[in-house]
Every structure is written in C-alpha cells, then in structure tokens.
C-alpha cells in the first residue's frame, strides 16, 4: 500500500488508487471534468493538473497519476491556481453564455468550477464557434452541441458500459462535436446515465428539462424498486413532489448507474392506481375501522400469511409476527412477478425479478420458521385449506391466476387483482414515503428513506400491519421501524449488531447466493 503526500498531508492508499482519489481521502478536492470513477481515464480536460513535488515530473494530471511510494503532489500552489484558471478560460472560450436558459444550471460542473477556480471577466475579443442546439438523440435525451466540452465521458460510457459504441466525437480541432451517426437514435436502456455524467448542459433530459430549477430540489438517498437489483438512488423532490430519480454510487451494487426503466418509476407513487384510503367491503373507511374490520375477519380463522416481495423487511417482520398469533396460519413468499410488472432483463443491472425485496421476505420468513411457495399456496387454496389470507404488497391473487381465499385482507400501495378480491384494503406508504430496508438479490441489506409525506391515509407497511395486530392480538412490533430492524438483526446471526445507522449509505452484505444479474463493471 503506497504512502503518498497531498499538500504535505501523508496518506496510505490502496494499490491502484489515483491521486484524485488519494487527495479526496485527505479531504482535498481536485476539480475535474473528464475523470469519472467508473469510466476509463481520458485525461483530456486537464482540470486536475497538479504540481508534482517529489516522485515524478510535473505539472501532471492527478487522474492518470497512480499512487506510488514517495509521490508528493501539491494542489494549493499559485501555479496550480493559475493552471485551473487557464483551463477554465479555455473551456469557456467556445462555450455559450447560456446559463440563464440552460437546464444544467445549478448542477453544472463548469459553473461550479468557474465559481471556485475561474478568474473573473473575459478577455475574449474574437468570436465563439457555434454548433447546433436542441438535437434530439432519442426520446429521452437532447444534445446541445456547443455546450459540449468534449470530455468524452458519454463516448466512454457507450464504449465501456453499454458497449453500444453509439456516441462518438466527430471532426477535430475546436470544431470537435459529439453525436450519433446521422439518422440513428440512442436505443439502449441506460440513457439517463449519459445525462448524469455529462458535466455540462450538452446532454439534458427531455422529460426533466425545464420542469424545475435544480437548486430547489431536495435529495433523499433511497433504493430503486424497479427490480431485485436494488440500485442505490437519490430521490429528488420538492414540496411533496418527486421530480426525478438519480443513481447513487455504490460500487458493490450499481456502480454509478441505473437503468432507464428504474429511473422512470419516479412518479409511480403518484400513479392513479395508488391506494389512498382504506376500504371495507368496497366502501371507504377510516384506517382504524379498517384495521378492526380486518382483525375481525381474520380472527379464529386459518390464515395464509403472504409476505411481501415488494414490502419492507420491517413490514414483513411485523406480518410474520402477527401470523405467529394466528393459530393454524402459515407463511408464504410468492414466486414470480405481478401481472402488472413489465418483465425485462439485460446483462447489466436489470433482472427479471421485479421484486425489490424477495430476498428480504425470504430472509424474514426464515426467522419465523420459513415460508412456503406460491405454488403450494395455490394448491392449498384450491383444496380449501385456508379460510383467509392476508397479503402485504404482492399481487398474490394475480400471481396465482385468480386463486383466492374466501376472505382476503390486502395491505398495499397500488390496486391490483388482490385488492380487487379483498374485503379489507389498507393503504400502505410507498417506499419513498417512509424509512425501511430491503435486501437485494445479492444479499445486500439496504436502507431507503422517507422523502415525502405518506399520501392519503397510508402508513408505513409495518405500522399498517401493527394496526391490524393491535386490533387482533395487541401490538407485535410497535411503530418504530428502527426497533423492528434491530429485532430482525437480533434474531439473525448474519445481521448481528446491525442497525439502520450501521447500514449507512452502502448497505451490508448478508452473503451472496444468487447473483441474478451481474452488476455493472466497477473500477
């Protein structure tokens, strides 16, 4: 492990660490445009030029400088300041003064670095080059060629991540432009990432464009529920409204990427099928009355307890514990997807299993003696072995092709065949409306956090279950999600001592058993 010095501060880093990363490790920010942790090194923007004080010759670019013993760089010298100023001046030479009408404003690396590292004013007396604006690259992305700084991040993304080789730099000199082969459009499922990695306003989202100035947006870390991969995301929202999802870097899960399908789920919690209030026998009901009604319906019956492959660990734990109070009940975890799920997969991040917490439902069930399958449930229902079922989140009825029990209680976010068959429907909060955890297909226990207020009468799934439990047998888990998770952790050797806090942003691995889809290559 090499020991290097950044601005006189000594730091020991892993082999293969570059000096931007080494500097970050001691809190020194080296500005850059073309460098991206999950792409190859291009070294073309020259913004990360630093002085080399020992162990090499300088000035040189920090991104292409591998940490090695004795290497000492300086980032706070007058020379480095001048180099940054000059690179900013060059980058802005042919960059239009578009900021007031540019959608990237507020999250533009060029703006940010100009503020921190640029000099003031302009000494440009000659003309700027122009290039076409508003060129659609697909139904998702629009290109403004004259804002491009030719950092080649998007080109490298196409070559290295999606391996589509679609975007290219054309021409040369200061007329270099990115683009597609004329007449073609981007057609891979990871286009949103191009918008994310573009450091300037060259590639912007046709959907998000002009919807919101980004500085109004608040960011909440979360997890994508589009499939079982559980890509880490940031929910960007304002005044109770979500505006977009963006990937959050997690080298062990999704690198810096997420698929477009997952990204497009940003407004799903606002879908017209969303269950906003409780219903009993098809009539609107208040929450407490519905919980009571559910308790009455389930009481004394043989109940099939269907844990949610789309529900949180905490909700599933609550339901499993509720089941323990119902004589003759049995736990089930459904296989397959809901009929309403669009099933698709690829060899990158997207897997066929569209349930963000199948692994979690199974894991929680195991703490209560394990669960049976959906096939078994269908057989048992057909045989009349259960008088009732309570379903958390899953469209169990839909998955069984319509098989159902005489009595059904459904706790969930969206209407489906199960809610249609249910006598009692209890509204659950969407995952962006409460705090909880999922376990992805690779065994990574991950937190999602509350970004918005729960809509309608909905409650976090564990609270909703607990309300029913209260009416039936008394509280089983309480209403504190963190405590429920602590309970899960206590019951499981794999999560011994874990808590919401200890999961942090990166999550905790409970062992890798089913690598359903390879994560994007990470550096």
């Amino acid at each position: 492990m090499p020991i290097v010095k950044v601005d006189g501060i000594e730091v020991t880093v892993e082999n293969g660490t570059n000096m931007i990363q080494a500097a970050a490790a001691v809190g020194v920010d080296i500005p850059h445009f073309c460098y991206h942790e999950d792409l190859s090194i291009a070294g073309n923007c020259r913004m990360c030029l630093v002085d080399v004080e020992a162990g090499g010759r300088g000035p040189d670019i920090a991104c292409n400088m591998q940490a090695r013993d004795g290497l000492e760089i300086r980032t706070d010298s007058e020379n480095v300041k001048n180099m940054r100023e000059s690179v900013m001046e060059f980058l802005l030479k042919n960059h239009p003064l578009d900021c007031p009408v540019c959608d990237q404003s507020g999250e533009c690396t060029l703006q940010d670095h100009y503020t921190s590292h640029g000099n003031n004013g302009s000494r440009l007396l000659d003309t700027k080059n122009h290039a076409p604006k508003r060129q659609p690259l697909s139904d998702k992305i629009v290109l403004d060629a004259e804002r491009c700084i030719a950092c080649s991040r998007c080109v490298r993304f196409g070559d290295e991540i999606t391996k589509t080789g679609d975007l290219r730099l054309f021409e040369r000199t200061d007329h270099t432009e990115i683009g597609l082969f004329p007449g073609e459009a981007l057609d891979h499922g990871y286009q949103g990432n191009l918008i994310d990695i573009c450091p300037v306003g060259a590639l912007t989202s046709r959907e998000f464009r002009f919807q919101k100035r980004v500085w109004y947006l608040r960011e909440t870390p979360s997890v994508c529920i589009g499939c079982a991969t559980g890509c880490n995301i940031i929910v960007e929202h304002e005044s109770g409204e979500v505006f977009r999802f963006k990937p959050r870097r997690n080298p062990d899960v999704n690198s810096s990427w997420m698929c477009d399908e997952g990204r497009e789920t940003w407004n799903d919690s606002n879908d017209f099928t969303r269950i906003l209030m409780a219903k009993v026998d098809g009539k609107r009901s208040d929450f407490a009355a519905a919980a009571t009604a559910a308790a009455e319906l389930l009481s004394g019956k043989k109940v099939a307890i269907v844990l949610g492959t789309k529900g949180s660990n905490e909700g599933n734990r609550a339901l499993a514990l509720l089941g323990a109070n119902l004589e003759g009940s049995k736990l089930f975890v459904m296989e397959g997807n809901d009929p309403s799920d669009t099933v698709s997969s690829d060899n990158m991040l997207k897997v066929e299993d569209k349930n963000p917490n199948r692994r979690g439902a199974t894991f929680v069930a195991e703490l209560s003696g394990g669960a049976s399958t959906g096939v078994e449930l269908k057989r048992a229902l057909d045989a009349g072995e259960f008088e009732a079922m309570i379903v958390l989140q899953d469209d169990a009825v839909g998955r069984m092709g319509g098989a159902t029990a005489p009595t059904v209680v459904f706790i969930g976010t969206h209407a489906n065949q199960t809610s249609a068959a249910a006598q009692v429907i209890i509204p659950a909060s969407a995952h962006i409306e409460f705090n909880g955890t999922f376990i992805n297909n690779n065994g990574m226990v991950q937190r999602f956090r509350r970004a918005l207020h729960p809509v309608g009468d909905s409650l976090p799934d564990y609270s909703a279950v607990d309300k029913v439990a209260n009416a039936l047998c008394g509280s089983v888990v309480g209403s504190d999600g963190a405590e429920i998770f602590a309970g899960i952790a206590e019951a499981s050797p794999a999560l011994k001592g874990a808590s919401w806090a200890s999961l942090g942003g990166a999550g905790q691995q409970i062992g890798s058993t089913q690598q359903a889809g390879a994560a994007a290559p990470s550096k």
Binding site: R168, E171, R172, F181, G183, E184
Partner: protein
C-alpha cells in the same frame, strides 16, 4: 491536409444509395484485414478503397465499411471526419490542393492560388461548374523545399510558377496527358529546376 473542413453535419445523407464492395474489392479487403491483429485497424484502408470507388465518403459508404468490419457506423464516421483527406462531399474530377503553409507561402503560394482562382474562375474551396476542377488550400504536404506546389489527385507537382500551372491546367482541359509529376526527385540537393 485540406484547410476546408466540412462539418460532419454537412456530410450528405443521400449519397450513394445501396452500394456494396465488388468481388475484386472483397478479395483486396481480405488481404488487408489479414495484415492487422484487429479488424478495426482496416477502417482507414477500407475508407481509401471506398473513396477510390465512390469518390467520397457518404453515410452510405460509412455503413458499407462499418458492416464489413463489424463496427458501429458512427465509428467509421468519426474516423472519416478526423482525417481531412477523406472527402465528405463530392469534388471535381481533378482536385487541386495547393499548400499554403509557411515554406510554400514564403515561396509565393498565395500568389499562385490567386492565379489559379483567376484562371478557373472559382475561389479556393469551390468546384468549377463543369465539375472538372476543385481547388483547395491545404496545409503542409512535405514539399517545403520545392514550393509552391500542388497535389493533383494523387500526384505532386512541385516548383510551380504561373506558367507551369497553366500547362497543367491546359493539359487537363484539352484532355492531353499531364506533364510528368514530381520533377524534383532527380535534384534532391540542387536548386529545383523549373
């Protein structure tokens, strides 16, 4: 190295229509590909074959080359637009490329270009209405000791003056054989003869 840089946007999409390499060209392509460890390396040689065949590099040409080399067409286009000798628009039958970089400029290249412009009635960067000549100012062609010079299609004509240029242009117009190119090769250490 042409100093006229048509943007890739100007590359005409309607160029050659459905085209394909001939059996003879295919045989040549097989030999070319065998020279390199990767097929991608053959992209420039194939663009040369295509340009010889179809005159210039249209989108259709990029597609044909891309298909043959199993590359995205965008890659062929990025290569084609990087190198100035790949023509992105059709040119006249005779492409006159006059060097105007320093040594040739010191030797009077600008006057020579003005003379050719007068003679042909076109400006540099243009083609005569009959499609016979295109005139271009280009950067250094490594004939600095024998300037001013121009490249006529593949051939170098060096140590030019107005009358030598007139002779070349007249020969082309009259359809008679051109003067022997590269007279300089016999006098590598002497004053260039005119």
């Amino acid at each position: 190295m042409s100093s006229h840089q048509p943007s890739h946007r100007e590359v005409q999409s309607k160029g050659h229509g459905e085209i394909a390499f001939s059996a003879e060209q295919e045989a040549e392509i097989v030999t070319i590909i065998a020279k390199y460890p990767t097929m991608r390396s053959a992209v420039m040689p194939l663009l040369w074959i295509a340009q010889r065949q179809w005159g210039w590099i249209s989108h259709d040409v990029c597609r044909v080359v891309a298909r043959r080399l199993e590359l995205p067409p965008s890659h062929v286009l990025t290569v084609a637009t990087f190198y100035t000798m790949f023509k992105k628009t059709p040119t006249g039958e005779y492409l006159l490329q006059v060097c105007h970089t320093l040594s040739c400029a010191l030797a009077g290249a600008d006057d020579l270009i003005a003379h050719i412009e007068d003679k042909l009635g076109i400006k540099a960067g243009e083609t005569t209405p009959d499609g016979k000549f295109s005139l271009m100012r280009v950067e250094c062609l490594a004939s600095c000791g024998s300037g001013p010079m121009m490249q006529v299609n593949d051939d170098f004509y060096e140590c030019l003056d107005d009358s030598r240029v007139d002779g070349i242009l007249t020969a082309i117009t009259d359809g008679v054989s051109l003067p022997t190119p590269r007279p300089e090769v016999d006098q590598w250490t002497h004053t260039p003869v005119s």
